[in-house]
């Protein structure tokens, strides 16, 4: 795996895990019926 590949994989994972963390943090602050 090249450095470029590693960077693309790490960035993609970070974006997606960050998006999920943000969404579920906000959902946690929202009441759930």
């Amino acid at each position: 795996m090249t450095t470029g590949g590693l960077i693309f994989m790490a960035l993609s994972w970070a974006v997606i895990i960050g998006l999920n963390a943000f969404c579920f943090y906000r959902l946690g602050n929202d009441s759930d019926g």
Binding site: S12, N20, L27
Partner: protein, 519 residues
């Protein structure tokens, strides 16, 4: 309207929407698309398509669905007729019934293969078949595409199909909260747990054969992720990325509309839509991008994996992966987990595809839920027979091409034009913002109005020029298969006209929103 079903929890809706979106494409289609279209560089057009098509279309379909539910419509036909006061509106919306219903005819059959192969793996039914061609023969025998020593008839495939259809019916009869939501709350966490186990196992494969050191996990990840920036100048790569976003998020299918219609009118959709996108991407990029092709390179090398990728997702999932799992400890169990993962992804999507038509039968025809599900299941069973018995002649692929690839882009383009230009962007945006738990960035207004419709029109135009003439003329189709391909096309047309007729008969009381009803 007060008797409309509702989701029990917001989490339940998000998991159900994620269950709809996460399917076989996340684990089989995405890694092949990435590897064939520039590796890591594919993620640039992929994330671009997610931003300009995926997220805005998710919000639009959620807002149309919630608005439709408020006015008693649980399907896209009634919803589009609500947005646009024109006789054609209900027929455009009818595509949101036709598309999922047609796709479920073959999708539930493919899902049943995953169930069967999970059992085969546990029982060791294909033990000893350690080459891809051996597994290919096993798969073809199972599908009835070829007659060989592995299967004497379609009995195993048929049994698995009936079990899958039966489970789908049982879930649908349970209704929204007690059927679909319960399934999603069980299947989606299980899917992620199975995916995590498989990711850890694949990443710890190391170099399976020390005599071939280049066949290792690092090179496997590199096969998917090493960027080839020259691919970004190729328009087909951008089209492939947009196609993957459509397929993976189930945009332009009419299902999101139906699921969100079971929300209350002031419930949030902005955060719900984003959370759905996030979960789907987690399954696709993190799990799907790691498991199959990485393992394939570690065992077959780059040339072998390129050959697998050229063969498509089924070669990867049903031929290469079973061979790989037979070469690692506890391989039967890992193989069973792999196919269980695919089955959970498939069954939650199959249930979602059937729901819009059930909503039409219940709401517009006054059917009880049990009767609507029973009738639909019977029709599904009958119409799946040409798929099962005509598979060797390409019937399944033909349905998938015209409905699973082309029709949904047409429907998405129509609905975004109606939403942004006919219903009006200001009204539409207020609908997206109503009850929102997060503030959608305002630049999406420009995206919805101009960028997404243009991108979709370019995709359709590109397809019309580069693929349509050859496909229509059946270029490359052997003479023996041509009657079956024509039959598949007649079937598609008959289904479309049948849905149009149902919608027409049901639409007598439907009215469009007036300006005074502006949200």
């Amino acid at each position: 309207m007060s008797t409309r079903q509702r989701w029990a929890t917001k989490t339940g809706l998000i998991l159900a929407l994620a269950g709809n979106a996460i399917g076989l494409g996340n684990f089989l289609r995405f890694p092949v698309q990435a590897a064939q279209n520039g590796g890591g560089a594919f993620m640039i057009p992929y994330f671009f398509a997610l931003l300009v098509i995926g997220i805005p279309m998710m919000w639009i379909e959620c807002s149309i669905g919630r608005l439709g539910g408020k006015h008693g419509h649980g399907h896209a036909a009634g919803m589009i007729a609500l947005l646009w006061d024109h006789p054609a509106a209900k027929y455009i919306g009818a595509l949101g019934l036709f598309i999922p219903f047609t796709i479920v005819l073959y999708y539930s059959y493919i899902t049943s293969w995953c169930l069967a192969f999970s059992v085969f793996s546990l029982l060791g039914s294909y033990e000893g078949l350690i080459t891809r061609s051996d597994m290919g023969a096993f798969l073809k025998g199972f599908q009835g595409v070829a007659t060989n020593e592995h299967f004497r008839s379609l009995a195993a495939a048929y049994t698995a199909y009936l079990a899958t259809l039966g489970l789908t019916v049982a879930v649908l009869i349970g209704g929204v909260a007690k059927g679909i939501e319960r399934l999603a709350k069980t299947a989606i966490p299980l899917l992620f747990a199975l995916g995590a186990v498989l990711v850890v196992r694949v990443l710890t494969l190391g170099t399976p054969d020390p005599t071939i050191p280049e066949q290792n996990v690092s090179n496997g990840l590199g096969f998917v992720w090493n960027p080839d920036f020259t691919s970004l100048g190729d328009a087909s790569v951008w089209i492939a990325a947009a196609g993957q976003i459509f397929f993976t998020l189930s945009i332009g299918w009419g299902i999101i509309h139906t699921y969100v219609s079971y929300l209350h009118e002031d419930d949030d959709i902005a955060l719900t839509g984003m959370a759905t996108v996030g979960l789907n991407e987690l399954a696709e990029v993190v799990l799907g991008g790691t498991i199959a092709l990485t393992a394939a390179v570690a065992f077959f090398g780059i040339p072998g994996t390129e050959d697998i990728a050229r063969g498509g997702g089924f070669d990867l999932g049903f031929q290469a992966m079973p061979v790989i799992f037979q070469q690692v400890p506890a391989g039967n169990l890992l193989g069973a987990l792999w196919f269980a993962l695919l089955f959970f992804g498939g069954i939650t999507s199959a249930v979602a595809m059937a729901q819009p038509m059930i909503a039409l039968l219940e709401e517009s025809w006054g059917f009880s839920r049990r009767r609507a599900v029973g009738m639909l299941a019977a029709i599904m069973f009958v119409l799946t027979q040409p798929v099962i018995f005509g598979q060797r002649f390409g019937v399944l692929d033909e349905l998938d091409y015209w409905v699973g690839a082309v029709a949904l882009v047409i429907f998405a383009l129509c609905e975004i034009v109606i939403f942004g230009w006919v219903f009006g962007l200001d009204r539409g945006w207020r609908e997206i913002e109503r009850g929102a738990a997060i503030q959608p960035p305002r630049f999406f207004r420009i995206v919805i109005k101009f960028v997404t419709p243009t991108f979709l029109a370019v995709i359709l135009g590109w397809w019309a020029v580069t693929e349509f003439p050859a496909k229509l003329a059946m270029e490359g189709v052997v003479t023996e298969a041509r009657p079956y391909i024509i039959g598949a096309r007649v079937m598609i047309l008959a289904l479309l006209l049948g849905v149009f007729a149902l919608v027409r008969a049901a639409s007598s009381g439907w009215t469009a929103l007036g300006r005074e009803d502006s949200p």
